[in-house]
């Protein structure tokens, strides 16, 4: 379970958020650009630090301003898929997926096994030795997801995971994400502006504006959700 | 019809303007034929034995000689009767050059002298590659003869100017504890000399060879040369290394030692019988644009006034 209480002064407003994500649950953060959504992800991952607050994952404190705890990014064991996927362009698909495991000095056989497993799962087995710079947007996204999952993280985070996907991949990836989160029983935090996708994937939804929550609830209760038409404006 | 011509001609005009601009820029940044790289320098103070006179081709722009730098009375405009002489001069005359220039201008009002001071070998190469000089003062007879045979001199004007002996200089603190010429061969001493193609270089080697033959022996000569840590491109380069205390000894001209700042150097003389007497020659260049003034300068240098100045700076007279 992920528990977080974050306070951070940003340029135009103050981020003030308290939330919890249960294992196996997907919490979707929505809101206008600049509402602070990506900052939330960055503080949870450790790339940024809040001003005050705490972050606990599975009982372990990742950050606690009262006790001066601030775990380094590399020690938080979080799978974070960036907005641009950031697949390492100079490495092949297999090398990309193996990257995190190599960094943790996992055994070679174990690495090969997991890489194959995730390539299979994401349906990119045939691209194993292709350099990431030669892949399409959708393929890169799948590599990034596989790479994040391969380290068997305690928490999964996505920043706009669906924007680069073509129609075919979209459904596959959505189902995949849901399946994996349920299987591994880990919490998942996702940022997206696409109402339809939030509705399909999310278990709970929070809408942020200027750093604070303005609405939270279940996907079916989403206000202004014209889900059949797939509109996404507020 | 008019519109079409306007467009064509406007493009054409633009290209022509670009070309003219490029030519102008090229013309303005080309150095005048009088000074051609590598770096040319002008001595301003007579007593500094520093980098100012060391020719060092850097990646920076070479220092241009300026007409007003060596005059006592500033001349603000040029009239047809005034002339600036370009005198290519062996670097060892750096110390004396300022006073020589000043006295010349005083004696011949309206004329100024600009000295280009470098190793004679460097000056020779420049002249051979088209550099402009009115007068050339060479520290080496062989270079003078080469230039004569190549036709750069007005041969009748080539005359001996002054002479100079070689001397061993040491930093004032004498870090190498060199008390005599034989100490130069002691292991571990650091010696600086000029390179073979610099006149003071060949002069030094000859003096050392003479000393070896007459007094100290060939082993001594070998040891001295194995103590050499640097062959400098010019005489000031040698003097700098010695005055900085970075070497134990160096071989330069007596005049350089005589005009060094007080208490920076000490010396050991080389006996006249073994020493090499360098004869400086001067001559007017064929390419000079004003042979009259050039001749006046030569006369001045050979006059008692000019010769006395040279003696004041440690040079010896010709005889």
């Amino acid at each position: 379970m992920l528990e977080a209480n974050l306070r951070k002064q940003l340029r135009d407003f103050s981020l003030n958020l308290k939330f919890r994500v249960n294992p196996g649950e997907i919490l979707v953060l929505m809101g206008e650009n600049g509402a602070g959504k990506t900052t939330v992800l960055n503080t949870i991952s450790g790339i940024l630090s809040p001003d005050t607050g705490f972050i606990t994952l599975r009982g372990t404190p990742l950050y606690d301003s009262r006790n001066a705890i601030n775990l380094q990014v590399e020690d938080r064991h979080i799978g974070y898929v960036f907005q641009n996927a950031a697949a390492f362009p100079h490495l092949s698909v297999a090398e990309n997926i193996a990257y995190g495991m190599k960094a943790c000095h996992l055994h070679k056989d174990m690495i090969i096994q997991r890489v194959n497993h995730w390539m299979e799962r994401m349906d990119i087995r045939n691209l194993a030795s292709v350099k990431a710079s030669n892949l399409s947007g959708g393929q890169i996204q799948r590599v990034a997801i596989a790479r994040a999952l391969a380290i068997e993280p305690e928490l999964l985070m996505f920043d706009e995971p669906f924007t680069a996907l073509d129609a075919d991949s979209l459904n596959t990836v959505k189902h995949l994400v849901k399946d994996v989160v349920t299987e591994r029983n880990i919490p998942c935090l996702m940022v997206t502006h696409r109402v339809m996708d939030a509705h399909d994937v999310g278990d709970r939804i929070r809408i942020l504006n200027q750093g604070t929550t303005v609405w939270e609830g279940k996907p079916e209760d989403l206000p202004a959700c014209e889900c059949r038409s797939g509109k996404s404006s507020w | 019809m008019h519109k079409r011509w306007n467009d064509v001609s406007s493009v054409f005009i633009r290209i022509i303007c670009l070309l003219i601009f490029a030519v102008l820029v090229a013309g303005c940044t080309t150095s005048p034929p009088t000074n051609i790289p590598p770096a040319t320098t002008v001595a301003v103070q007579p007593t500094t034995m520093t980098l100012v006179s060391t020719p060092v081709p850097t990646t920076a722009v070479p220092v241009k000689t300026t007409a007003a730098s060596v005059t006592a009375t500033p001349i603000t405009s040029y009239t047809p009767s005034e002339k600036t002489l370009i005198v290519y001069t062996a670097a060892s005359l750096t110390g004396a050059s300022k006073e020589l220039g000043t006295r010349f201008s005083a004696t011949y009002p309206g004329h100024t002298v600009v000295f280009n001071l470098e190793g004679t070998q460097a000056l020779k190469t420049q002249v051979e590659n088209g550099a402009y000089a009115d007068v050339f003062i060479s520290a080496s007879n062989s270079y003078t003869n080469t230039l004569k045979s190549e036709g750069y001199f007005i041969n009748s004007t080539v005359k001996p100017l002054t002479t100079n002996y070689v001397i061993v200089i040491l930093p004032a603190s004498n870090p190498g504890n060199i008390q005599s010429l034989s100490d130069l061969a002691k292991p571990g001493k650091k010696i600086a000399m000029a390179a073979y193609n610099v006149p003071i270089g060949t002069a030094s080697y000859t003096a050392l060879a003479n000393l070896a033959k007459s007094t100290y022996g060939q082993d001594w000569n070998k040891s001295v040369f194995s103590n050499v840590v640097s062959y400098e491109m010019s005489e000031p380069g040698v003097a700098t290394k010695v005055s900085l205390g970075e070497v134990d000894a160096g071989l330069v001209y007596e005049s350089t030692y005589a005009s060094a700042p007080a208490m920076t150097l000490t010396s050991i003389s080389i006996p006249k019988t073994d020493n090499y007497l360098q004869t400086y020659t001067m001559g007017v260049m064929k390419q000079t644009e004003d042979s009259g003034v050039a001749q006046e300068f030569e006369d001045f240098m050979l006059s008692s006034v000019g010769q006395q100045i040279l003696r004041n700076y440690g040079f010896r007279s010709v005889s």
């Binding site: 380094q72 950031a86 100079h90 990257y99 | 519109k3 079409r4 870090p175 400098e232 491109m233």
Partner: protein
């Protein structure tokens, strides 16, 4: 469109093309002709025979060895330095930033004098080293020190600029995957900036190879020990012209082949967004 209008466009187009061609040709000629002139001032026979001159040989060996060592040191020390410098804020960072550029604006002779005043026998640090019998001035090590001092800004500035411009999401992703800063530097940062680093290295090598003023001031001029090719050219120019010319041509050939080799290596790099 009417015919005259089309024609006028065509004329304009042609003139623009001619103008562009003139620009390109004139710049190329300006850069290439002096180099070509070097080759034409000698004959192949003279050149080949000069190659066996001991002065040429020792200058060649010395220059190549010292320049490669200098380059190696600059890369090995400079790359992590640039990385740490870029990825962190620390007190005095701006001063260090300026210092990196200093050797670029300092005349090489001044740099050489500064090195001499510091590391020379009577220098501030040199005098202490001298007590332990360590000499720096007038040694081959001095050549390397001078080369490193004047050439390192080329590599450091390039590395700094590349690291600063690299999309931070790659390194951040690597961090989330558990990679240490050293692992990130070697597996992500350097590979993704390699071609730029290579061109920085080429410039650094070229500058080290051509270094003159600082070398003669701090290291002196002694064949086989400190007489690098540029020094030998200068001595040769005023002594044995053929030697000077031969070494100049060698310098051109070496520089060209290194640049071509580097570009070839860099072109095999992955192109990425």
């Amino acid at each position: 469109m009417t015919r005259p209008f089309l024609l006028q466009k065509k004329v304009r187009r042609t003139l623009t093309v001619i103008g562009a061609a003139i620009l390109i040709i004139s710049v190329t000629i300006y850069l290439a002709l002096p180099v070509v002139a070097l080759f034409f001032r000698t004959t192949p026979e003279l050149f080949i025979s000069s190659l066996s001159d001991p002065v040429v040989q020792s200058a060649l060996h010395l220059s190549l060895i010292t320049s490669f060592i200098s380059l190696g040191i600059v890369i090995i020390v400079g790359t992590p330095f640039a990385y740490v410098h870029c990825r962190n804020t620390y007190p005095g960072k701006m001063v260090v930033d300026t210092l990196i550029d200093l050797p670029l604006v300092l005349p090489p002779a001044v740099a050489g004098l500064a090195l001499l005043v510091l590391y020379g026998r009577v220098g501030f640090i040199g005098s202490y080293l001298n007590m332990f019998g360590i000499t720096l001035a007038f040694t081959t090590l001095a050549v390397i020190m001078a080369q490193i001092f004047v050439a390192s800004p080329f590599y450091l500035r390039q590395a700094k600029s590349l690291f600063e411009q690299l999309d931070p999401s790659y390194e951040q992703t690597a961090r989330t995957l558990g990679a240490s800063p050293l692992r990130i530097l070697t597996t992500i940062t350097i590979p993704l900036t390699a071609s730029g680093l290579v061109s920085g290295a080429v410039m650094t090598f070229g500058r080290a190879l051509g270094e003159f003023g600082a070398t003669i001031m701090f290291a002196g001029n002694l064949s086989g020990v400190t007489q690098t090719m540029p020094l030998a050219v200068y001595v040769g120019m005023e002594g044995d012209f053929n030697v000077g010319l031969t070494i100049s041509i060698l310098l051109v050939l070496i520089s060209f082949s290194i640049m071509i080799a580097m570009r070839f290596l860099a072109s095999r790099e992955v192109k990425h967004a």
